[in-house]
């Protein structure tokens, strides 16, 4: 099953076209990686899946994105419901300047004020492997945590809302090698329950974590396929040049 279906998507920042007629299918319950050189539009595409790119008033889009079968640009779609179903993790860990507990509880507090928070927080922190370390300091500020813990927390705060899809924009670029492996291992576990799309600069990372892979260049999706095939036997010459390190 596809969780995201994009057809003929173009996006402009003012006069600059950042996405050119992109059409992709992203499958559910696996990790899909978006790779490509800097500035090719990976973040832009990812940030359009939850429509956060449209915060910028200069952004104009054309085309269609269906998520869980619904056209997300349709005026009837609620942004709040969309973002509840499609969680996002950013490049720099951005826990809110409130306590660890409140960070994880944030989603429930705004969407389901009556939900039982304690159990959900414990479950989410356990899922990302933070519970044992943090259970006795849940009420200290989240911004005091180490970067890796902050990034785990940013993943954990999505879980109480039971999102269908988790988008991650270079989630490890602020982390060291050991923390990166730890996060990758976590993503591998989460892929059993969630559909995950990860943007990464690192081809090695894409190869380690993803089942399918998209290669983007200058706002276009050049190639799409199972990760192993894309890396060992690319169909497009540009993909081959990029993964061989001849540019980018």
């Amino acid at each position: 099953m596809n969780c995201i279906e994009v057809d003929g998507l173009s996006l402009w920042y003012g006069d600059f076209q950042a996405l050119r007629n992109v059409s992709v299918r992203i499958r559910e319950r696996q990790i899909t990686a978006l790779i490509g050189p800097s500035g090719c539009g990976k973040s832009t595409l990812l940030r359009t899946f939850n429509r956060i790119s449209q915060r910028d008033a200069s952004v104009r889009v054309e085309g269609s994105i269906r998520i869980l079968g619904e056209e997300i640009f349709s005026p009837e779609v609620s942004l709040i419901a969309l973002r509840r179903a499609v969680g996002m993790v950013f490049q720099r860990p951005n826990p809110l300047p409130i306590s660890i507990f409140e960070n994880v509880a944030f989603g429930l507090r705004i969407h389901e004020p009556d939900a039982a928070v304690e159990a959900a927080v414990e479950e989410a922190l356990t899922a990302v492997g933070l519970w044992e370390d943090l259970r006795f300091r849940l009420h200290s500020p989240a911004t005091e945590l180490a970067l890796e813990q902050q990034q785990r927390l940013c993943i954990a705060r999505l879980l109480p809302l039971k999102p269908e899809i988790i988008l991650l924009d270079e989630p490890c670029s602020a982390l060291d090698a050991k923390a990166t492996l730890a996060i990758e291992e976590l993503l591998g576990r989460l892929a059993a329950e969630y559909s995950i799309v990860i943007v990464t600069h690192s081809m090695a990372q894409a190869r380690r974590v993803s089942a399918e892979c998209f290669f983007m260049l200058l706002g276009e999706v050049v190639e799409h396929g199972p990760t192993e095939q894309l890396f060992t036997n690319p169909r497009d010459a540009r993909t081959g040049d990029y993964i061989a390190g001849r540019f980018g």
Binding site: N50, I52, R55, A57, L79, I80, A81, L82, R83, R84, G87, M88, F90, R92, N94, P95, L96, P97, I98, F106, G107, R109, I110, H111, P141, T143, E144, C154, R157, L158, L161
Partner: protein, 302 residues
Amino acid sequence: MKPLRRSIFDRLPEILIEGVIRLCGVSAILLVFGIFFFVFREAYGLLPGGDFRLGHFLFDTHWNPASQSGPAYGTLALLAGTASVTLLSMAIAIPFGLGSAIYLSEFCVPYRRETLKVVIEILAAIPSVVWGFIGLMVMNPLIIAVTGAPIGLNILNGGLLLALMSIPIIASLGEDALKAVPDSYREAGLALGASRWQLVYRVLLPAARPGLLAAVLLGLGRAVGETMAVLMATGHSVHVPTSVLDSVRTLTATIAAELGEASVGSHHYQLLFLVGIYLLAITSAFNLAADFLVRGRRRSSR
């Protein structure tokens, strides 16, 4: 090859500039102490004089320092005047000031924001005597017409004026505080599906709290210390008010109104300086509290 060591002549400009900067810093401190010293010196004559009673000064409501028969110098009614006008003004200025700060920083399209900020700056630049004039000529008849009070120079009038004077301060400093919240917090909140209001009260207000608190306290400082407008708009009756339509007299208005009449060095003159010290102590306490709160919050939010 040029020598690696610098001669004293190369360093001379640096030394000079450093000296000037240090002088600027030190002179600010000297000025503050100078003001304290001067005000204390003028009031000092009261202390060894014997029959000055601090309890009377702080807790009595009768203020009649020029009387020959039995001078009364209780400031409680004046303090009540200052407090009532300030409280009313803050009750109006805090919601409106913070509301405009939030609107400007989060809900307003850029071109309109620029226009509004210019208007707010103009509002902040209106001299207080002009506000006093508005109080006297516009608000006074208006209040009489609307409430049926015998005179319109009262707490309501002064409180409204002070609110109008504090709102621009709270709005523009509050907007700065909100603008300083990193955009990544907004993205985090929005990406979790927060509505714009939820974003404001769950993310931005907590994140900007120290700055917003500082904005409010600076607005409050302006209201407590303001003289001209309250002198003109609150009437001149020294008593503890029981309703917003009562006329009052504030600490500042008392000093401004009476200092000209009191002969230099007289008992009355010294008392007015003591009232000045009292006022200084109140505003310093507010500033210290603000500083303390802002620092404390910062530390705990790191």
